[in-house]
Symmetry: C2
Subunit: 162 residues, 2 copies
C-alpha cells in the first residue's frame, strides 16, 4: 500500500538532477546561456535507470508543464519553473495520474458500495492531509541535505477537521 511507483521515483530523481544542473548553469555565469538542459540519456546514465523509460517519463513531465523540452542537437530537458516552485505532489500526480488512496475518490462516482460506505469521508480527509503534505515539499527541498528542515507545511496536516 501507499507505494510510490518506480516511475514517480525516477521522475523525482530526474527533477532533482535537473534542479542541480540549473544551479550549476547559473553559477557558470549568464554569458554562457546554459539553461541547465540535459538529455534524457544523460540523466539515465547518471542514475543507471533504463533510458527509454526515463525518456517517456520526462515526456509526460514535459506535457504536464513541469519541464520544457528542446529537440535537436544539444537539446534536452530543463525545469520549466524554479525548483522551489515545483511540488513533489505535482510530479507524482503528473506521472502516476490523479489516483489517490481510496478508489472512490479517483474513480469518481465508481465504487458500487459508495452508498453504504461509512468510511469514505474520513478517508478523504486522510487523503487530503497527505496531499497537503506532499504539496508542501518542493523539488528544491529534495536537493538540500535535509538538515535544513524545510518546515513548509503547517496547516491542514495537524488535524483532520473538515
Amino acid at each position: 500500500m501507499l507505494r510510490l511507483t518506480k516511475k514517480a521515483d525516477y521522475g523525482l530523481m530526474a527533477l532533482k538532477y535537473l534542479a542541480e544542473q540549473a544551479i550549476l548553469a547559473e553559477q557558470a555565469g549568464a554569458d554562457l546561456n546554459l539553461s541547465g538542459a540535459r538529455s534524457a540519456k544523460d540523466i539515465a546514465e547518471a542514475y543507471h535507470i533504463p533510458p527509454q523509460l526515463l525518456a517517456k517519463i520526462l515526456q509526460t513531465l514535459a506535457r504536464a508543464g513541469l519541464l520544457v523540452s528542446h529537440a535537436g542537437t544539444n537539446g534536452g530537458y530543463a525545469l520549466a519553473r524554479s525548483a522551489a516552485d515545483i511540488s513533489t505532489f505535482e510530479v507524482i500526480r503528473a506521472i502516476d495520474g490523479p489516483l489517490f488512496i481510496t478508489s472512490c475518490i479517483t474513480i469518481h462516482g465508481a465504487c458500487d458500495l459508495a452508498g453504504h460506505c461509512t468510511i469514505k469521508e474520513p478517508l478523504r480527509k486522510v487523503n487530503d492531509s497527505i496531499t497537503t503534505l506532499l504539496s508542501g515539499i518542493s523539488v528544491a527541498d529534495l536537493t538540500e541535505p535535509a538538515d535544513h528542515l524545510p518546515a513548509a507545511m503547517a496547516g491542514g496536516l495537524v488535524s483532520i477537521e473538515r
Copy 2:
C-alpha cells in the same frame, strides 16, 4: 500511486463496524455478555462485499492481533482492544504488509540504485510523516461524524527535519 488497496479498505470498514457493535453491546448491559462479535458473513452482507474475501481479511487481522476470533455457532470476530487503541496504520500494515512508498525502504537492501540514489533519504522522511499521520488516527476516529476534529497528531508531521 498512494493507493490504498481494496482489502485494506474493506478491513477498515469491518473494523469500524465491529467498533460500533462493541458500543451497542456495551449499551445493552453487562448481564448479556454480548461481546459485540459478528460473523464474517454478517459484516460482508452489511456492506455488500465478497464474503469469502472479507473472511480472509478478518483472518489476517486476527492473526495480527487486532481481532479476536471465536469459532463455532454464534462465533465471529470482535475487537481485541478498544477502538480508540487501534490505529489505521496498524490495520493497513497488517493487511497490505509493511510496504511503503519507495521500494528501498521496504525491500530493505534491495534497490540496485541505492548507491547513487540521492532521493532516498528525503523520501524516507516523507514516508515517516505519512506513517505518523496514519498512526494518529484510530478506528474510533473513523466512527465519529468527523466534525469532532480528532486533532490527535501534532508532532512529526509539520516538518521533515531529521
